[in-house]
């Protein structure tokens, strides 16, 4: 089975036109000794009906966020996705199109990306946003690379409270370049601006902090940024795009580059990807020369009509090759579209209400959960939709028991922070009801 259309008659006519006698002849340039002399060892073909049964069976083994109440966060959240998002992203003119190199045949994608770029500027309070990157970790890393290029300084400082997988990504990239990454410890669940002040120097290209941080708690972003700026370093802020419905935006507290994981903006959890890397920065030629990924710009066509094209392509790999600002080729076009539709659907009021519901429900949950004996908030700083709890005894074992009770109750932090041995983070989105939170509290009571 394949999606091939040529019938035996077609093939005969085509071979005749080509002037060869068999399809095999077309592969004559592949030396015989390099040919695979057997069938590939993969399972035999399946019809659609069989494939669907097969996957129903396999996926039935998973216990997804539809099968258990989900309080998991850590950079991916169970936010509600309005049906209009699926409807628009399901238009095959969007999802089966390629990169909009032929502008006339791609105005739909181009305009949607231009709108996405504008929306990202509105979310971040900054002047320019690119057409998206792979995910949150890529955004942090590319922002750091930008800062290294812009400042021509060798050192990146990053808070330990930034998503550990973003930090790991940055470190992988940095390992091969002439730069160093220093992690600033956050033993109390936040980055102390005084520690930043003592850590920065004229070697510092940038300071990277995240707020709400990986524990869900807020950082003193203005003070951190000020400390960075004092030595001429850039300040890179990793933020939660849903939270800015009520919180100040990166541009409001002085970030030079804002980065985020955009999954919360209408992207399904889908086991971690594809997600959406957001990156916005100052509208400043120093930044524009170094911004990675695609950019859509407005122009006019030969009849003077407003239109959109990919622009500043000379930065990109397919033109600049080894001198490109980044090796990135694909953006996450379809996810950028989802985010644009999501933000349009919720509007300013809806984003505000969503953020506020998350905050209220998270605080209610924290209040109720910490009434359970032995359970306490691990950190004292304010939090948004996620928070770190100290639980009695073995966190992993406790979480396993809560799963049996129907709750994905939280993430055990020890895998990333060995010092936080019996701590978990609990995330509460607008989808969680009081009844579900109360249910979790009861289940916790029964299992500690």
């Amino acid at each position: 089975m394949s999606y091939v259309l040529n019938t035996p008659e077609d093939q005969k006519a085509m071979l005749a036109k080509i002037g060869v006698s068999s399809v095999e002849d077309l592969f004559a340039n592949i030396p015989t000794e390099l040919r695979l002399k057997r069938d590939l060892a993969i399972p035999p073909a399946m019809s659609e009906m069989e494939l669907q049964s097969h996957l129903s069976r396999l996926l039935g083994k998973n216990q997804s966020a539809s099968d258990a109440v989900c309080f998991l966060g850590g950079g991916a959240y169970d936010h509600f996705i309005p049906s209009v998002v699926d409807t628009v992203a399901g238009r095959s003119e969007f999802y089966t199109a390629y990169t909009p190199y032929q502008a006339e045949a791609s105005q739909g994608t181009l305009q949607a990306v231009f709108e996405y770029q504008t929306l990202m500027c509105e979310l971040t309070g900054l002047g320019v946003a690119n057409a998206s990157l792979y995910e949150g970790g890529s955004s942090v890393t590319e922002a750091a690379l930008m800062a290294l290029g812009i400042t021509k300084r060798p050192e990146v400082l990053i808070a330990e409270s930034v998503h550990p997988e973003y930090r790991a990504t940055l470190e992988t990239y940095a390992a091969n370049l002439n730069c160093r990454v220093r992690t600033l410890p956050t033993p109390d669940g936040f980055l102390n601006p005084d520690d930043v002040k003592s850590a920065v120097s004229d070697a510092t290209a940038c300071v990277i902090a995240q707020s709400p941080n990986f524990f869900g708690h807020l950082e003193e972003m203005q003070a951190i940024g000020d400390a960075a700026h004092k030595v001429g370093a850039l300040f890179i802020a990793s933020f939660d795009p849903v939270s800015v419905g009520v919180l100040k935006r990166p541009g409001d507290y002085g970030a030079d580059i804002a980065v985020a994981e955009g999954q919360g903006l209408g992207v399904p959890l889908q086991y971690g990807g594809p997600y959406l890397g957001i990156l916005a920065c100052h509208e400043d030629s120093r930044f524009l020369r170094k911004i990675p990924g695609r950019l859509v710009g407005q122009t006019t066509d030969r009849n003077g009509k407003r239109s959109w094209v990919l622009t500043l392509q000379p930065r990109e790999q397919h033109i600049a090759r080894a001198n490109a600002t980044s090796n990135i080729c694909t953006n996450q076009g379809l996810l950028a579209l989802r985010a644009a539709v999501y933000l349009t659907a919720v509007g300013p009021q809806g984003l505000k209400e969503t953020a506020e519901l998350c905050i209220r429900k998270a605080h209610y949950a924290a209040e109720q959960l910490t009434k359970v004996p032995g359970v306490s908030l691990r950190f004292k700083t304010p939090f948004v939709k996620e928070f770190a709890l100290q639980v009695p005894g073995d966190a992993k074992g406790l979480l396993a028991k809560l799963r049996t009770a129907g709750y994905h109750a939280g993430l055990p932090l020890a895998q990333w922070y060995p010092a936080l041995a019996n701590c978990i983070t609990v995330a509460v989105t607008e989808k969680r009801t009081k009844a579900e939170i109360d249910g979790l509290v009861e289940a916790l009571k029964a299992n500690v």
Partner: protein
């Protein structure tokens, strides 16, 4: 239809999505939960529209795109094959779509089984036994492979290997990735036959060579007949061979990179295995490598432990992560569905028919255009509009724009750079002879058309020849409200 921006449709007070009332106690003001200094005075100035506005806007925008589902899309090097609808249905199953990336392995056994099998399939198809599904796109796959190579050489103490050789016909991502991985890029020339110039390669190869990045079949659609000689040569110098897997659609089940000497390769799951391109992404760029490189792969990989699958993070030599979470699983999932649908016979048939279609289209196109390199080609070929420029002042770009008027997406143009006025065409196996004939007939017709019509094309699209210079000069990357 309207081409207003969504911001221009906004009117204060309109709403689409609504939230429920708060069902937990809400007596406290927000400022009592979050210190005032963190709070904004107003939410961001997002557009305010009704649901009908939103749907009409985006539905009408979608109609301004060409796409595989509406048009033949022979974009060379992009493998714009048909994206099966069953994949979209299956990827929406809640058991997949609502799976959180940080769930415990006990709750994701079905998912892990799918990913484990995907690793195995990709290893088998490439002949390279160790696979990482983590890279988010082809370019990141390349980069990850180069990180792996760098780590390997570091581990061996061969840090003097600072050079990566790249043919002049390579994709731009190759040198860009090499630079980002800290290597110096050296370009290797192509011969007049379109293949790697072996003498030039030899002259540039040295003890400081880390990796040779080769695309095979190459971007001219030609199989590097001396590939084994090349890879042996590299190995004799202790260097590694990296295969750019963008063109895997030509060789599935026919020849394997591992068998012709590649040590590493990436896949474009969104090309070869039908992840929809999404208007420019998401992609997915897993890599496969030889056993001795396996320890350096990004963690985690999926392993089977008895009957149980698990994410294995215990890889002390790993280069680390190249992204958060497992990978672009949505695209891998579709690739898995595709491979299970086709089976071994189907996959081989893909390459056979992709190559047949390319050669047939090549034969038709040569009726009116130069195709500088001799056939047979593999899954794609590069024609040149040189003669047309000379004789009728019609450029490759003009031809492309005029094709749009007839309902065909344009070929890839001006790439690879080794061919003047290049028109790179990849029909894929999912197109019919009728479609190829209609396209070729149109190309030949355009060649004979009034040049004025061709040079001012397209005439039937919503815009025509947007000014790219102006776009870059009068940079406008976002909408701003009129004063």
């Amino acid at each position: 239809q309207s081409t207003e921006l969504i911001f221009e449709l906004s009117k204060s007070g309109r709403r689409c999505h609504r939230l429920p009332e708060c069902d937990v106690p809400a007596a406290k003001a927000l400022g009592e939960l979050i210190p005032q200094e963190h709070l904004a005075s107003t939410p961001p100035p997002l557009p305010e529209v009704g649901e009908i506005d939103l749907i009409r806007h985006y539905t009408n925008l979608s109609a301004q795109n060409m796409s595989i589902d509406t048009n033949f899309y022979p974009l060379g090097s992009c493998t714009m094959k048909y994206n099966p609808k069953r994949h979209e249905r299956l990827a929406a199953f809640p058991g997949y779509a609502n799976l959180h990336p940080l769930q415990d392995d006990d709750t994701t056994q079905g998912m892990l089984e799918i990913l484990y099998e995907t690793q195995q399939f990709l290893a088998e198809i490439s002949g390279l036994p160790a696979v990482s599904l983590q890279p988010a796109a082809g370019a990141q796959g390349e980069l990850t492979a180069l990180f792996v190579a760098a780590a390997y050489f570091r581990d061996k103490g061969e840090t003097h290997r600072k050079k990566v050789l790249v043919p002049d016909s390579a994709h731009g991502t190759n040198p860009a990735s090499a630079a980002l991985a800290g290597f110096d890029t050296i370009t290797v020339k192509s011969g007049t036959n379109g293949l790697v110039d072996l003498e030039d390669l030899k002259s540039k190869l040295g003890d400081d060579t880390a990796v040779f990045m080769i695309t095979n079949p190459n971007t001219l659609g030609l199989f590097e007949t001396q590939i084994k000689t090349i890879t042996d040569l590299l190995h004799s110098k202790g260097a590694l061979v990296y295969l750019d897997g963008a063109n895997m659609n030509a060789i599935l089940g026919i020849t394997r990179p591992g068998d012709f000497g590649a040590d590493m390769q990436h896949y474009n799951v969104h090309k070869t295995f039908t992840g929809p391109h999404g208007g420019g992404g998401p992609g997915s760029g897993p890599i496969a490598v030889r056993d001795f490189l396996a320890p350096y792969l990004p963690a985690p990989v999926v392993v089977k432990d008895g009957a149980r699958f698990k994410l294995d993070f215990d890889m002390p030599k790993s280069i680390g992560r190249v992204r958060s979470f497992f990978g672009n699983v949505g695209i891998l999932f579709r690739g898995y569905c595709y491979i299970r649908t086709l089976g071994p016979d189907g996959l081989k048939q893909v390459s056979e028919q992709a190559v047949l279609n390319a050669n047939y289209l090549r034969a038709r196109v040569t009726e009116g255009f130069d195709v500088p390199h001799p056939g047979p080609c593999m899954h794609e070929f590069v024609a040149s509009a040189r003669a047309l420029v000379r004789e009728r002042k019609i450029t490759a770009k003009d031809v492309c724009k005029r094709l749009l008027d007839f309902g065909f997406h344009a070929p890839t143009v001006y790439f690879p750079m080794v061919v003047a006025e290049a028109l790179m065409m990849e029909p894929t196996e999912t197109e019919s002879k009728e479609t190829l004939d209609a396209f070729a007939d149109t190309l030949l017709k355009i060649k004979a058309e009034d040049p004025e019509i061709v040079k001012t094309a397209p005439h039937t699209h919503i815009v025509s020849r947007p000014d790219e210079v102006k776009a870059a000069k009068e940079l406008k990357l976002r909408w701003t409200p009129a004063k």
